[in-house]
């Protein structure tokens, strides 16, 4: 039942023992910090809107970089064979790895809490949208982690896993900005597919079941596809 926690712990240990976690987190903080604060003082407003509007596009390439190794590395080294001959189920493996990717994303977000805290010191920050924004960011991080896990399960090559994952995440982020390409009859549907659209809704502080269902179903579909992809492999 709790077998997945052993895999989760092992993956987290791997992240923090090797330099991957530190490199990815530093890159993430430098990029968000630079883009956010380079315009922040020009607007002269104490809010985090700039940060949250950047987040989906940055997540779209940072998260696949975190998750790319989860399965691809094991498949490449052959340790996947050993993992499968131990008393664990596919769901333990997939859920453990997904949770590790998600917790890494959470760790990155945790460090960005420095931004709202420092803004609250210098101005009058409205915490409502900030909390909504972080909730949305967690949902988005979970979704992209699940997509990254799926991309990683498809290939032995971590670079391919990264490109594949980033491509899917980018498509979901940008699709609602390309609405003018689509016929009017399917506009609503295409907009509903966009991850950024739902993220903006949650970040505005409106928690609607439609947005929650969107994120949860993408996570479920990705993890289930991972299951199918792994079943196919022998």
């Amino acid at each position: 039942m709790w077998q997945f926690t052993h895999i989760l712990k092992k993956e987290l240990k791997d992240y923090f023992i090797s330099p991957i976690a530190y490199i990815v987190i530093s890159i993430f903080l430098i990029i968000t910090g630079w883009f956010f604060f380079s315009t922040f003082f020009l607007y002269d407003q104490a809010n985090m809107r700039g940060f949250f509007s950047l987040l989906p596009i940055i997540f779209a390439f940072v998260i696949p970089a975190i998750t790319m190794r989860l399965f691809a590395e094991e498949l490449n080294m052959g340790s996947y064979e050993i993992l499968l001959t131990m008393p664990v189920t596919f769901s333990d493996i997939i859920f453990g790895k997904f949770a590790a990717g998600f917790i890494m994303t959470g760790a990155m977000l945790l460090l960005t809490l420095a931004y709202p805290i420092s803004i609250a010191f210098i101005g009058d920050l409205d915490w409502g949208p900030v909390i909504g924004g972080y909730l949305g960011a967690l949902l988005l991080g979970g979704t992209f982690s699940a997509i990254g896990v799926f991309a990683s399960s498809l290939t032995h090559n971590q670079i391919i896993a990264f490109i594949l994952g980033a491509a899917i995440c980018f498509a979901l982020t940008l699709i609602d900005k390309m609405l003018f390409f689509f016929p009017e009859s399917i506009l609503n549907f295409v907009e509903y597919l966009g991850a950024d659209f739902h993220f903006r809704n949650v970040a505005r502080g409106i928690i609607d079941s439609r947005d929650l269902i969107y994120f949860i179903s993408i996570i479920f579909i990705s993890l289930y596809s991972t299951y199918l992809a792994l079943q196919k492999k022998e």
Binding site: I7, G78, E81, I82, T85, M86, P87, V88, T89
Partner: protein
């Protein structure tokens, strides 16, 4: 204990394992022999539940691999061919991780790790990353991994590959020791190893069993042909042929070569079970030939193996 019925595995159109039927009893040390690509590894992978059979069933005690894979995996310890472990992990961390996944109680973990470290000789490398280890040490980590939860069945895919002669003897010793209580199945293509360690040997070729039994059985079942090698000085081929074929029981005499020093090498074949060496000696004694070499080829596992796996080809 293990019951394998009509096990078949196809990779696309290639049939790697073809209708295999094996019954393995508790406490047996079973050696799986065969040339490269015979289907040894595929068979072992199916036994561990890693690879799904195309058809056929595997039953371990009362469990079926289809319906109860977790129970079976809990009973099996597996050492894969090239021991591919996480290269960045320390040996200790890795073994601790395995002990958790295999469900060893926290209080028993430390004593178990200590015991395995002693058994497999890992004490001096517990703090090293697995990626830094030599092939032989890596193999020993694999053995510790496989024996972690004291499994009923140990499946080892070429356990002595890449080890030095001392380590091979050590590993054989370990296998024998475990085999007293547990069931051990291992594959190898080193015949002397199988002969030295196994209670029972199964030779497979092209996915099919071509021989099954202990070493003595196999030797008996193999072709009864005896070959006697002779090197003679001062002898003429024709005359030798005539003399030897006159001996009852010898049905063919073949000249292998004639060296520059005038040594004639011949081989005499016989189908009889009688030992013909005395008759041959007496026949030669009557002439003025000089015997340089006189050798009866013993039926070794190697010749049996070659016969069996070549016939099919």
């Amino acid at each position: 204990m293990i019951h394998v019925e009509n096990l078949t595995k196809y990779y696309d159109n290639f049939c790697a394992v073809d209708q295999l039927n094996i019954e393995i009893n508790k406490g047996e040390i079973l050696g799986l022999l065969g040339p490269n690509g015979a289907g040894k590894t595929t068979t072992l992978k199916m036994l561990t539940g890693y690879s799904k059979p195309s058809s056929g069933t595997i039953q371990v005690n009362d469990y079926n691999i289809e319906n109860n894979p977790l129970e079976i995996k809990q009973m099996i310890g597996y050492l894969p061919e090239s021991s591919p472990f996480y290269k960045d992990m320390l040996v200790y961390d890795y073994l601790e991780y395995v002990s958790k996944i295999k469900g060893i109680k926290p209080s028993d973990r430390h004593p178990r790790l200590r015991y395995l470290a002693d058994l497999c000789g890992l004490n001096h490398i517990m703090h090293k990353a697995i990626g830094e280890l030599s092939k032989g040490l890596n193999q020993r980590v694999g053995l510790a991994h496989a024996m972690m939860n004291d499994p009923e069945i140990l499946i080892l895919d070429e356990p002595t590959q890449g080890l030095d002669p001392n380590q091979i003897v050590e590993i054989r010793h370990i296998i024998k020791k475990i085999g007293q209580e547990k069931t051990v199945i291992f594959s190898t293509h080193i015949l002397s190893e199988a002969e030295a360690t196994c209670d029972r040997i199964i030779i497979i070729n092209r996915g099919k069993i071509v021989a099954d039994g202990n070493t003595a059985d196999l030797k008996q079942a193999a072709d009864q042909k005896t070959i006697i090698q002779l090197s003679l000085l001062n002898a003429e081929t024709e005359f030798v042929q005539k003399t030897l074929t006159a001996i009852e029981g010898i049905n063919q005499v073949e000249q292998i070569g004639l060296t520059d020093d005038g040594v004639l090498n011949i081989k005499a074949y016989s189908n009889s079970t009688e030992d013909l060496r005395e008759k041959i000696y007496k026949a030669i004694k009557a002439t003025d030939w000089v015997i340089i070499e006189f050798l009866q080829e013993a039926k070794t596992l190697e010749t049996i193996f070659r016969d069996l796996t070549r016939q099919i080809n």
